[in-house]
Amino acid sequence: MLIKDVVCPFCGCLCDDLDVEVENGRIIRVDNACTLGSKTMVGDDRLKAPIRRDGKGWIETTYDAAIEEAAQILLDADRPLLYGWSRTHGEAQGIGVHLAELIGGVVDNTSTVCHGPSILAIQEVGHPGCTLGQVKNRADLIIYWGCNPIDAHPRHMSRYTTYATGFFVKDAHRDRKVIVVDTRRNESADVATEFVQVEPGGDYAVLSALRAIVRGRGDVVPPSVSGVSREQLVRVAEMCKNAKFGAIFFGLGLTMTAGKNKNVRNAIELTDELNRHTKFIISPMRGHGNVYGTNEVFTWITGYPYAVDFSRGIAFYNPGETTAIDILRRGECDACLVVASDPAAHFPKPCVEHLARIPVVQIDPHPNATTHICRLQIPGSVAGIDAAGTAYRMDGVPIRLKAIIETGVPNDTEILQRLYNRVREAKGE
């Protein structure tokens, strides 16, 4: 059976034009997807049943017993951390936030290790952005700064930017210029009109210099800024000012290097400055399929996009203090619920060491690095494969993920709702 217009749940692009061939309840072919999306969908590798650690080994258990044990672990904790969420649908995320509210936990999502610093920057200066179709239809200048779409968002260029045909951009090759800014000549740089190579850690200074040049104060800028010549900076500034519609896409090259949120802030303020001359937008290249959805759901329930601490009953937010990495590094939390992410693989070693010391419950369909260090893993279905639900694209467009096969595995919403109900009951509500 061929299913059309399937949404790929892999990255923040949420491409919704996949053709998926399903046979005997299995996905056998995926067309239109990039290799990341299609390999993920075809090669889906599942844990068959809930498992719990039993001494030095593992035994299978039932969903009922697993949910009971998970509830007890959370109820016993003085500072539980509920982490992950970005690979599941919004409906499950919402229950997760309410669960944290109920038990006085800290709830954080994978933004922490992705675009958390971008959120901090947006909270300082705002975010001039747009949906990706605006870029596709209008942009004649694209800047990729500190990101490598060819490896991380392989269809970004063909669907929205460099190679995309738009209403006002009929010939993308001729009508669009591309600038790549990075510390290394990555694969994306090969297609750029202009490649700006910045010394590691030099993005902030380069952005400041560009802002000064755009506002007509190039005179203060020294001949070389973090390895970039003033001449090139002036050229780039002119390209930006002369564009009819410019779009900056930035990645972890800004959020994971020294200065972090301040790097992003500087990029946003460059965009603000350019809007005094022409139309310019900026957008983070969000990684996980539904990471932007976690921010949206967290925000309408708690007021904050991530790192929310309910230990005092009210919602408190202070990334750097209430973020998962900091809490784990400082050894603060005494239990952890991991949902739809793999912190043991993606957190620094000292954080994983702490996870290995405390009871960890993981709700995730796949055996992953966190499996080895958890006490209990409950497999759910995969949003976008055998579970339907809402996801938000990197630009905020909400899309409904489809269930394209039926596996009979409970989805995360059902598992979390049962867990929530059990905890509520145990608290006598």
Binding site: K4, D5, V7, D16, D17, G90, G94, H98, E101, L102, I119, I122, Q123, E124, V125, G126, H127, P128, G129, C130, T131, L132, G133, Q134, K136, N137, R138, R159, Y160, T165, F167, F168, K244, F245, D272, N275, R276, T278, K279, F280, N295, E296, T299, W300, I301, T302, G303, Y304, F310, R312, G313, I314, A315, Y317, T390, G396, V397, P398, I399, R400
Partner: protein, 566 residues
Amino acid sequence: MTELLIRNACVFDPLNGIRGDVMDIAIRDGRIVESVQNNADVIDASGFLTLPGGIDSHSHVCGTKVNFGRYMSPEDMRAGRTARRGKMHVTSGYYVPTTYGNSYRYSTMGYTTVLEGAMAPLEARHTHEEFNATPLQDMLANTLFDGNWSIMEAVHAQDVKRAAAIVAWTLSSVRGFAIKLTNPGGTEAWGWGGDLTGIRDPVPNFNVTPAEIITTMIEANELLHLPHSVHLHCNNLGKPGNYATTLETFGLVPDLNKNRQTLYATHVQFHAYGGSTWRDICSKADEITKSVNAKPQIVMDMGQIMFGRTMTMTADGPMEFNLYCLHHNKWSNHDVELETGSGIIPVLYSKKSLVNCVMWAIGLELALLTKNPYQCLLATDNPNGAPFVKYPEIIGLLMSKRYRDEECATLHDGIDQRTSISSIDREMDWNEIAIITRAGQARALGIAAQGKGHLAPGAEADLAIYPIRCDDVDPATEYRKVVEGFQKTRFTIKRGRVVARDGDVIVDGANTTFWVNPTIPDEHNVANDPEFVKKFEEYYTVRMSNYPVQDVYLPRGRCIKTEADI
């Protein structure tokens, strides 16, 4: 069957001509009925002021833009924080509260129905998700068409039926309620960083003018027999001298519907400025109200501002960028492909600012100089002019000349030269307040027929019982009691169930979302038009099949069907 009897209610029900009668109200299964059996539950209203549930006909509480306002404002979230308590979830925020914060505060103020002022069709799913997390109000969504490419093409072709067909397909696809135009044409110009200066400027690349968009959409609206009229945010918002654009726009409006207005002009305070710069800005509320008093086809809302910090958020992207250049505070912008734009900026309305004082006065002047209260409704364009929790103060100001004078005495001296607020003696009565906060909204939105905004048998049993004894309180002098009384109901009743009591919400809530589905003949359905489909697939970044909002997002949706004259 559940029955409830409310005894000794002092009722104002303007749509049914009831003015302060002390009476009983019978409710069965969520609706008003003539009588109930003797064993019905009883609430003693003790002679307190009892009104139909409040209706906000223009507020920003759910969806992409609102949530982005929250997202970028951790500083605001430090205000108004409450912990989980009883049935109430955690809340945060003052001017951009969480969905539960909005819902609880509206509910404890007696509001049971809220219209979200701006929903971009492409992002409609988000709005509906937040509606579900705003559980205590029935919700409706104004759907943005101001920069819609297909609409502008239809306008250019002078094809009203085509425009109507696009509206019909879009509203039913995204579960929208009404047509919203925000700075029509201007949001498309903003796609290139530009704006329009008046309603006769051509929209770049589309060769249509705002005037043509507005008139075509008014006609399309009436062809579709939508419950509400076109809902317009005029061009040139917030610019000195913009009253001329507003008057010119009002001049375009024919009288096409005998049951309601043909145009709803929103937050008109922001569109009633004289002068030519911020230095000589003055009130033109007199000119605006003169026009409205002569045109029954127009209804407006105040767009009142109140002093303090708040957040402006609108689909009017260029206006927000101008504000950013003025204040240099944080600025967010979010243009939506083929459809519309939006911007978000925090503001502080200060009594020290003459401009802000003039704005404050204009909103009140509009309400007080409009003869028919059904033509100027109470709203702050929440949170743009002020968070809706300020409504009780606005009610107080409208009911008491003394309160206004006392406020004026604390404002910038220039206010007397720039506005006529001090010379207006009118003081509204309870009935007029009931009109500008619920009856007028129900009529303007066209939802009285859905049982909203009145208390006749058959109506939805949405009520607000305020701890105010109308015969004991003189609003002209005891305005503090009025303000306090409207802040917290004694009881808020939603669909026959007590949902809030003395400032606390006591149920989980289960709202309804109203949406419209105009039926049009198949040959006009754009979904069957290969040209429309081809353009959609080429220029949107989502597939047409993934665009419509699925029923699962409206677990308690109520569809209003209409038959189009196409």
